[in-house]
Each structure stands twice: as C-alpha cells, then as structure tokens.
C-alpha cells in the first residue's frame, strides 16, 4: 500500500515547475481531501460534478469513500510511476484519509468523427475515425459485437508514451502474425512515434520496400471486415488512421464499395481497376518500346499517326515520356501541397495550358499527352494510396527496361514484378497468390 501523503509530495515534486499542475485541498467538517491533476488535461466540469460537489453534499466520511469506490471511472492504483504516467495522460488523483484514488477524467478535443476523405465510397458508411483512441475503439466495438474481440493497450515511443491499441478477434486471429507484430512492437525503441504511417514503416521490417505490407485505412467498415477475417488492427492515439496487418496485394486492389454494389457491377469495376493498374504500369513503356524499337507491332494507321505526330520533336521517345511524366508528377505533388483554393488554378495551368503549349512547341507529341493523362487517370483508379504510389514509381523502372531492351524488356519487367510480389510475404502470408482453395476444396490442393 502506498503512503498517500508521501506519494502526493513525490508527484508534486516530479511535476512541480509546471503552471497547470493543480493541488487543491478540500475541507468540509471533519473531512479533508486533496485533489491533484493537470488542469489542461482534465475535464474541469466533470471534476466539479463528480468529485467536488459530492464532497460537500455527503456528510459522512465513510459514505463518501463508498461513493468514490463506486465511480465507474476509477482506476487501480499500483505504483508511483503508474500514477505519474496516468496523471500526465489526464487522470485525477484524490488523497483522502490516507488512501489514494485515481479517476480517468481526461478531456479530449480530438474526438469528433469526420467524414471519410481518403477512401470515399458511394454507398456505405460515410464517417471515418477520430484522432482519439477511445472514440476509435468505441466506433470499432459498435460495429463488431463479439465477446471475443480483444483490445490490448500498449505504450510506444520512449518519450511520447503514446497509447497504442492492438485489436483482434482472439478466435479468428492469425496467431503467427500476432506474435510477429508483438515482438516487433516490443523491440521498437524510438523516442517519438507520431502517426500510424510512421509506425507502419517502423515495424514492417523492410528498409527499402516499395510495396505496402500493411494497410492504412480510415474506414471503420474496412477495419471490422478485416477483423472478422482474422487480421489485426493497430490504432495509435492521435491519428485518425488504423493499420491493418497482414495485408496482401489483392487487399489493396479492393474498395469497400465492392461489398455494397451488385455482383456484376463489382466485377466490372474490379476489372476496370486491374486494367487501370496495367495501363498505368505498362503504357509509358509500351509507347517508348513501340516508337523506338517496334513500330510494326501497331496497326499501320496508328504507327503512321504516332510517327506523324512525332515529326519535329527533337528528343528520342524515352526523353519525351520521362519529361512529360515528371511534369505530371510535379503537378500531382503541387496540388497535394497547395491550399485547396489555389490547387484548382495549378491544375488548370498545368493540365490545360501546359499540355496545349507543349504540343504546339513540338516538345511532345499529341499522342504523348494522351498517354500521360491516361496514365495519371488510371493510376488513381487504384483504391489504396500506398499501392498507388508504388505503381507511380514502378512505371519508371519499366520505362528503363523498355528503353534498353524494347518490348522484350517490358514484358520481362512485368514478369519480374510478378515474381518479386509472389516472393514477398506480409507477416507470413504470401503477398501475391491465387486463393482457390476456399472455393474448390480440392483434395490435397493445399501448398
């Protein structure tokens, strides 16, 4: 048992020079109590209602103690350090009659739930997650009513001590992946972890990985869908997005809409997405290879019109393609960073004016402009941002192969990417693999 007065003094010493530390002695008849809290972290109205008012209303000391014990926000008191760490997260310590009580009365200003901004859907729920971990867990629990849903709280960041919730369904969870994630979290020693994206990068274990091996999402329906299929969700306090692991390639190609629309439409949209993926990967390389190496591969009319529109262009096709693509990337980058009101102007200047001017100045062919815009549009048909950016980078690799070895290099590059992806693993799960077993259940088909 901790000595109440000593502990209070120790706590005050630890936190002393701070202006918002409040140590408030209360006195009524025979009762005496001391409240200790950090003013900026706690809900002052709630303290007034929950602690101060009853203190003056309940006459007997015993019944007041009973009242305190019955409060649902009460926390267990174990060690000095535990009290300190809870105090700086927004708890109130009450010392009365030589015993200590602690209550979680934190005030959170980030608990509003905004609408989704990154993963928009036409149908389905529109609200995303807040930046407060308790609100988020609340949102998740409200969609997944299972007694087996487990929430483990951890602290990460040796300086920031940010709370991290590890959420999974203990009946369905992939045990192997869970163990791996836990060991990785234990071995993490970074002073500050500010966002889930950073956490994702720190624990995926690969220093130079282009493809995402964990999914970052802001949609509660996606989190719940993934929990129900045995995945693990990691929610960091102070960030509105959640990590889902393990995540494989096909997860990144699916939007939550796929569950809500009719089957045929979903198949249509999925096919479109894969076409988009292939176009944005291959089209620039194909343009280079077919103009520089094999114009004969195209229809005669098309080959002639490509050659015709390239008349007067001083550069070889690979320079033309790279130049235009980099301009496009710059445009995308600029419109992300610019304030919303100005970014419209940037796209107009970049897209319309520059496009026309470049063809008129014969720096790039008309067909090149079509290629670049097709690539840009197709790239954004990939629903999840991280895969999107991986594809944005990969197409340059394919352009290099197309430039050095033509169509053969392009095809080999594509095969190489497939090989690389099937070789990858996300927490023990093969990253790219056809899953037919569930449907066919052929005997001995498992590998």
């Amino acid at each position: 048992m901790l000595q109440a007065n000593n502990t209070l003094e120790w706590l005050t010493n630890e936190l002393q020079p701070s202006f918002d530390l409040i140590k408030k002695p209360l006195k009524n008849n025979q009762k005496e109590a001391v409240l200790l809290f950090i003013k900026t972290l706690v809900d002052n109205d709630k303290i007034q209602l929950m602690l101060i008012k009853p203190f003056f209303e309940i006459e007997m000391l015993g019944s007041f103690l009973d009242y305190l014990r019955s409060l649902p926000d009460g926390q267990e008191v174990t060690t000095r350090d535990q009290i300190l760490s809870e105090l700086i997260k927004g708890s109130v310590v009450v010392s009365i009659n030589d015993s200590l009580f602690m209550f979680d009365i934190k005030k959170v200003n980030t608990s509003t739930v905004p609408t989704t901004s990154l993963e928009n859907t036409v149908l389905g729920p529109q609200s995303s997650l807040s930046e407060d971990i308790h609100t988020n867990i609340n949102l998740i629990r409200h969609r997944y009513h299972q007694s087996t849903l487990t929430v483990e709280m951890l602290d990460i960041g040796t300086k920031s001590n940010q709370s991290l919730a590890l959420i999974y369904d203990r009946d369905l969870v992939n045990i192997n992946a869970l163990e791996q994630i836990k060991t990785k979290l234990e071995h993490l020693d970074k002073p500050l972890v500010q966002s889930t994206a950073e956490l994702q990068r720190l624990i995926n274990g690969k220093k130079y990985s282009l493809f995402p091996f964990m999914m970052i999402t802001e949609r509660t329906d996606r989190i719940v869908y993934n929990l129900s299929s045995g995945k693990i969700a990691l929610t960091l306090d102070g960030d509105a997005s959640t990590i889902l692991a393990p995540a494989i390639f096909t997860d990144f190609m699916s939007a939550m809409d796929d569950k809500y629309h009719s089957n045929i439409f979903t198949m249509f949209v999925k096919t479109l997405r894969y076409i988009g993926l292939f176009i944005s990967l291959l089209l620039p390389g194909f343009y280079v290879a077919s103009t520089a190496y094999n114009p004969v591969i195209l229809h005669t009319e098309l080959a002639l019109s490509v050659a015709g529109s390239r008349v007067g262009i001083p550069y070889p096709s690979y320079v033309e393609v790279t130049f235009m693509l980099i301009l496009m990337e710059l445009l995308i980058e600029a419109s992300i960073r610019l304030p919303k009101t100005i970014s419209a102007a940037a796209t107009t200047v970049g897209g319309l004016i520059l496009g026309t001017a470049i063809t008129e100045a014969t720096l790039a062919s008309n067909i090149m402009i079509i290629v670049v815009s097709a690539v840009a549009i197709c790239n954004f048909s990939i629903p999840i941002g991280e895969l999107n950016s991986a594809v944005r980078v990969l197409k340059y690799v394919l352009i290099i192969f197309a430039t050095t070895t033509g169509l053969a290099g392009l095809t080999l590059g594509l095969l190489g990417i497939v090989m690389y992806l099937t070789n990858c693993e996300s927490f023990g799960e093969p990253y790219l693999k056809l899953h037919l077993q569930k449907k066919l259940k052929m005997k001995g088909d498992k590998l």
């Binding site: 094999n294 591969i297 195209l298 229809h299 070895t405 095809t411 080999l412 093969p430 590998l447």
Partner: protein
C-alpha cells in the same frame, strides 16, 4: 494431384511450341514423324503415370533425398550431379533458343549477348526464391496468359486461311518407320512431370493421380501435339515447310486481325511465348539448382548462414550462358540440341529404373521392419 502439378505439366506442353520440336518434326514429315508423335504420346502417358505414382509414395520428399537415403554416397553424388547437369542443359537450350527467336523477330537491333543478359537478370531472381513461391508465380503468370492462349488458338482454328487439304496430305505419311529424333522431340513436352524431382518437396499431403485426370493430361498433350504438328501445314503448305527456321512464328505471322488492338498475331504469340519460355527456364534451372545444392559437398559451403551454393550456381549460369550464346551459331545450336534430345529418352528411362529401384528398396525395408 495438387493443381500446381498440372501447371508444371501444362507449362511444358505449351512451351513445346517454341522449342525446336516443330522444326525437327517438319524435317522428317515425309518419313514417319506422325507415327513417332503417336508413340511419343503413348510413352509420355506412361512416363507421367510412373513418375507421379513413384513420387506419390513419398509425399514431401524430393528425388535427391530419396536417392541419398537408398543408395550409397558414391552412387548418389555423381548421379545427382548428372541430373543437375541435364536439367541445366535443358534450361540452357530453352534460353538460347528463345534468345535467337527474340533477336530474329522482336529486337533485331540488340546484340544476342545483351538479350541473354536481360533474360538472365530476371531469371537469376528466381534462384533466390523458394520452390513454393515459384509455383505461385507460375500460377499467376499462366493466369495472365490464359486469355492470350485462348485468343491465339481461337484465331488459328477459326481462320479462313487454314487449308485442311495440306493437313490431310500430311496424314498420308503415317505408314512409315518411326524416327528416333522425332520421337525424342515430341517426348520433350512430357518432361514437365519430371520436375517433380524437386517440386515433390512442396506437395506434403498424400497425393493421388486419378486415371481420369491422367487421361485428360494425355488428351491435352495430344491436342497440343497435333496443333503443333498440323496447324503449320494448314497455313504454310506441306511440301517445303522444312526449310523454315521458325515455322510456328511464320505460321502466326500469316494471320492479321484487323479489329484487334495488336493486329499481327505474331506479336501476341511472341509475348505469350516470352512468358512461357521464361517460366520454363525458371522452373528447369530451379530444379537444377536444388539438385546441385543437395549434393553432399555443397552443404558445408556456408558463410554467415547463407548457403553459397545459390550464388555459385548463379555465377556458373551467367558464365556458361554468356559464353555459349556468344560462340554458338544457330545451325550449331540445332545440331547440339538434337544430340541433347536424343540423349533424353534413354536418360529418363534410366531415371524411371532408379525410381523403380528406390521404391523396391523402400518396400523391401518396410517388409524387413514388419518382420
């Protein structure tokens, strides 16, 4: 059997089109090529049956482990080296063949060495993959290519230009004495089954090949073999086809589809074959490497827990492929590969005999133990 087994077998079926098999068959089309094909189909069916039946007895075990378990070391090690060498040569043959083909039809501007270099660059990656992952790759790439296969077969059979008269004419030459080289060339497409020597390690559950699926495989092989042999006659005529160096490429190049995205079917055929050849080389060399690594002397070759066998094998592959590709001409290549083809049927007969010996020893030991 696991679906991955069928992928390996079907890959070699489809891959038969780009090997030198068609040219060799057309060389002897008036001297018993057809009867040799029929015999090869029969032999192929028997080969698939015995090989799968042997490996189904030992789920999760590869041929090197079995050989080392049941024969003395001085027999096992040289034999395994020979096996590794044979698989390596088959892979090398496919590589050089396809490099010639690329140089002729897709990228005539590039040097042969550079083409081989690019191919090797990607193939080397597969040496560092687990067998399981290679099978996943096989599945995905075959799936991507499936539309191309259907498209090309549909176009080939549905085209007005296909003259069945020539096909009928070629059938007239069925009553001839079979030719051994033609037999070996057609038997080649069934050798995909033999890749089980390594890939059986991945099939850890008890497998069983059904008679029906075996029959289906043989039927598919027959269909493909007949497509390989007869369709070029329909497009190129019968009499002078043996003077073409890549008869199948020229066959597909005689078709133009005006409404397709790429109007010349030959290029689609080339892309399809690039993936098929690539996979085939990957699989064959992976088997070669795994056998190479499993021989005794290489197990100690470790440095910082990395098995240097893979690196050594990669280095050897690079050196040999680049050397061979720079010194061998197309006609020499044809001669050397026909030597290799003639060597393969006896070799695989020996292989089956060893298999029979191992399974006899195995049963014998079981009986000894129960007594």
């Amino acid at each position: 059997m696991s679906r991955y087994f069928y992928y390996i077998v079907i890959l070699e079926f489809v891959g038969g089109v780009i090997t030198i098999t068609p040219s060799l068959l057309f060389d002897v089309s008036k001297e018993g090529a057809l009867i040799s094909i029929l015999i090869a189909l029969l032999a192929g069916g028997v080969f698939i049956y015995f090989t799968t039946r042997f490996f189904n007895q030992f789920p999760g075990l590869g041929f090197p482990e079995l050989l080392q378990l049941h024969t003395p070391k001085w027999v096992a090690s040289p034999l395994l080296i020979l096996f590794s060498l044979v698989w390596f040569t088959i892979g090398l043959k496919t590589l050089i063949n396809y490099a010639f083909l690329l140089k002729r039809f897709l990228t005539p501007q590039l040097q042969l060495n550079w083409i081989v270099f690019t191919l090797l660059l990607f193939i080397s990656f597969s040496f560092f993959m687990q067998s399981k992952k290679l099978l996943y790759t096989l599945e995905i790439i075959l799936l991507i290519n499936l539309p191309l296969i259907i498209y090309i077969i549909g176009i080939l059979y549905g085209n007005q230009g296909l003259e069945w008269d020539y096909v009928q004419k070629s059938i007239m030459y069925i009553y001839n004495t079979p030719n051994f080289l033609a037999f070996s060339a057609s038997f080649l497409i069934f050798l995909g089954t033999a890749n089980l020597v390594i890939f059986n390690r991945e099939f850890k559950q008890k497998q069983k090949i059904k008679v029906l699926s075996l029959l289906n495989l043989v039927l598919l092989g027959t269909g493909i073999m007949f497509t390989i042999y007869f369709i070029p006659f329909g497009y190129n005529g019968f009499d002078r086809i043996q003077y073409m160096s890549f008869p199948w490429l020229l066959t597909t190049d005689s078709i133009k589809v005006a409404i397709a995205f790429l109007e010349r079917v030959m290029y689609i055929f080339l892309f399809l074959n690039l993936s098929i050849a690539f996979l085939s080389i990957n699989i064959t060399w992976h088997v070669s490497m795994e056998i190479f690594k499993s021989t005794v002397s290489l197990k100690e070759l470790k440095w910082k827990q990395i098995n240097l066998g893979t690196y050594l094998f990669t280095l050897l592959v690079w050196i040999v492929s680049l050397l061979v590709s720079s010194y061998v001409s197309e006609s020499q290549f044809l001669i050397y590969s026909s030597y290799l083809l003639k060597f393969l049927p006896p070799f695989f007969f020996v292989f089956l005999t060893i298999c029979w010996f191992i399974s006899w020893r195995y049963k014998h030991e079981v009986i000894l133990k129960t007594n």
